[in-house]
């Protein structure tokens, strides 16, 4: 199974924010869309970073002035990205091993979506459930 099959059921909207916007806006977006991270894109739509709940909490522990800080002061700049053709299993492995929970997906230069570890686990669970169901159906056919 590929990353693209996760993106296929997520519409085409990518919830993103610009580096010069404030942290309070990021928090509002995260809450409104019930998600854990936002991609940060520059004025040309290129990926500039990622900002997660964890980045925000970490900064909150440092400073009371958190809400008015620009995204660029808090975001993670070095972002690992995935591709639509990436295998789900290897992505799951990489996200677990390297301990990150969100993976922006790019197709060439273009940002095409973001997947979370939750999406990956759900896709894996459904894959296994489907395989079990198919095997069970065949076993029951053998019984008859």
């Amino acid at each position: 199974m590929k990353v693209s099959s996760i993106l296929a059921t997520k519409g085409t909207d990518i919830i993103s924010i610009r580096p010069e916007q404030q942290i309070r806006e990021a928090i509002q977006l995260l809450t409104r869309h019930n998600i854990g991270a936002l991609v940060v894109v520059d004025e040309n739509g290129r990926l500039a970073g990622i900002i997660s709940e964890r980045d925000i909490i970490r900064k909150a522990a440092e400073t009371e002035a958190l809400f008015s800080l620009p995204i660029s002061a808090v975001m993670t700049r070095h972002v690992i990205t995935g591709m639509p053709q990436d295998d789900l299993m290897s992505v799951a492995n990489t996200m677990t091993e390297r301990r990150f929970r969100h993976l922006p997906i790019t197709d060439g230069e273009r940002l095409v979506g973001m997947i979370s570890i939750g999406d990956v686990l759900k896709a894996q669970r459904d894959k296994f459930r489907g395989e079990i169901d198919t095997l069970e159906t065949q076993l029951m056919a053998d019984d008859e």
Binding site: K2, I6, T9, D86, M89, D142
Partner: protein, 467 residues
């Protein structure tokens, strides 16, 4: 009026597409105990079950036993099947919106993904999906012709569909006669002159999409020797490390089987099946009549992406493979439905978790849903559509609660039946299908085969006495 889902005002759902995703959607809906739900399932063919009938290989009858589960769903008194009724032609979206609270599209992925290389449209270069539909007796594909006078064939891809195509090409007529392969296909394959079949994978054995039982079966063919070039069966260091890391038993087994083929000596069987890895076709070469005569291949090497996937990249080593017939099996792709938003990037209906979205607002369109391959793209086995359909049904049921469904002008089972009868007098019911099913099995038994399929709509309608 009483609330939606009561005895006097049942929740009326249309499902478009009678394949596994459609039946799993119906099954999940019927499991709901709080609501009275009526389901009408439509298919453009008179027969149900989608790719179970027209995709699953004829020599894999056991996989088809899942139709018993689907039949159980169809026997629910609140279920109706309208076969031979095409969405967009006999019934438009607006017709359905006037009669149902919800419409679920489960039309699957009906076409192949394109491979953009020079010569791909030469004669004797086909989509594997067309060959599969042809040998399975799909009425839309029965008239196709494949040049089986060619001795050397390439199948591009190493997924289970590619394996099916290669295996069917390598089977003896005696082996095929024990299956429910379409009678014309059996006849054509009886005269096949195919001697060598090449399966071509871009990556290595560890990344091949085929599953262990499917590849194992290739080593057990009655009259075809299987072979893998030893240097291509061997894992590269990246694959080896990744496999050691994941300790995935399925992949290990797959690699083991492929490597066991590498050492095999020819045993004098009349056909040879060769599995090649780490090669990509870069061009098809034609003869003076515009027919494929060869294929140019580039040798690949693997590299790891940032996210950890091993991907192929071309080297500077090329080779030419003489083949006269090519089947492309690099994946299926969905086809847009009239008036239903489509996400061209992934070849699916534009959706979020199965709720169809408005392309402008990216908000759900009330009452429209999707499940299966036309929702997530082609992936997984038949059963993968079950959890997928569940997600869609959960969204639909949540929308019932929140009053976000359609408010049809005429949510009456009789009214839509009348409309179907007017638009398509030759529609087929599930009882019609069960009669066809019995006839096919009986015709098969008479000649010692599990089933002899009807392969044209006209033939089916005549058998049912409708024409």
């Amino acid at each position: 009026m009483s609330h939606i889902g009561s005895e006097s005002n049942p929740l009326r759902v249309a499902i478009v597409g009678a394949g596994p995703a459609g039946f799993y959607t119906a099954e999940h809906l019927f499991k709901n105990r709080d609501l009275v739900i009526e389901i009408d399932m439509y298919d453009r063919l008179p027969t149900p079950f989608g790719l179970v009938r027209a995709g699953v290989a004829p020599d894999h009858q056991k996989i088809k036993s899942v139709t018993r589960v689907f039949t159980k769903t169809a026997e629910n008194p609140r279920f109706r099947f309208f076969g031979n009724v095409e969405f967009g032609k006999h019934l438009k979206l607006a017709d359905m919106q006037a009669h149902y609270h919800a419409i679920v599209f489960t039309t699957g992925a009906q076409t192949d993904r394109r491979l953009n290389i020079p010569g791909i449209d030469l004669k004797n270069s086909h989509a594997a999906t067309e060959f599969v539909a042809w040998y399975n007796g799909h009425p839309d594909y029965r008239h196709l012709e494949f040049d089986l006078t060619q001795e050397r064939v390439a199948v591009i891809g190493v997924g289970n569909v590619a394996v099916d195509v290669a295996r069917i090409l390598c089977r003896t007529p005696e082996e095929l006669a024990q299956t429910d392969i379409a009678d014309y296909a059996l006849e054509a394959l009886r005269h096949s002159r195919v001697k060598e079949v090449y399966m071509l994978g871009r990556r290595g054995p560890a990344q091949a999409a085929f599953t262990p039982p499917e590849v194992k079966e290739l080593g057990e063919l009655a009259d075809a020797d299987v072979y893998v070039p030893p240097e291509e069966a061997k894992l590269d260091p990246l694959s080896e490390a990744s496999l050691a890391d994941s300790a995935d038993r399925g992949t290990m087994r797959k690699v083991e089987i492929v490597q066991s083929f590498a050492g095999r000596q020819p045993t004098g069987k009349s056909r040879r099946l060769v599995l090649r890895f780490l090669v990509s076709p870069v061009a098809l070469i034609g003869d003076e009549n515009g027919r494929v005569r060869a294929m140019r291949l580039v040798k690949n090497e693997l590299y790891a992406t940032e996210a950890g996937t091993l991907r192929p990249r071309p080297t500077d080593q090329y080779e030419t493979l003489d083949v006269g017939l090519v089947f492309r099996s690099i994946g299926y792709r969905g086809v847009p439905l009239p008036d239903v938003p489509f996400n061209d990037q992934w070849g699916v209906i534009l959706n979020e978790k199965g709720r169809v979205l408005d392309p402008e607002t990216q908000q759900p369109i009330p009452g429209l849903y999707t499940a299966g391959w036309i929702k997530r793209g082609p992936s997984g086995v038949i059963g993968t559509n079950k959890p997928d359909a569940l997600e869609t049904v959960e969204c639909l049921l949540a929308d019932v609660k929140n009053g976000r469904l359609l408010t049809p002008a005429n949510p009456d089972a009789g009214a839509i039946l009348q409309l179907v009868q007017t638009r398509q007098p030759y529609y087929c019911t599930f009882a019609d299908w069960q009669r066809l099913d019995e006839m096919e099995i009986r015709r098969g038994q008479e000649i010692g085969r599990p089933r002899l399929k009807f392969t044209s709509v006209e033939e089916m309608l005549k058998a049912l006495g409708k024409m």
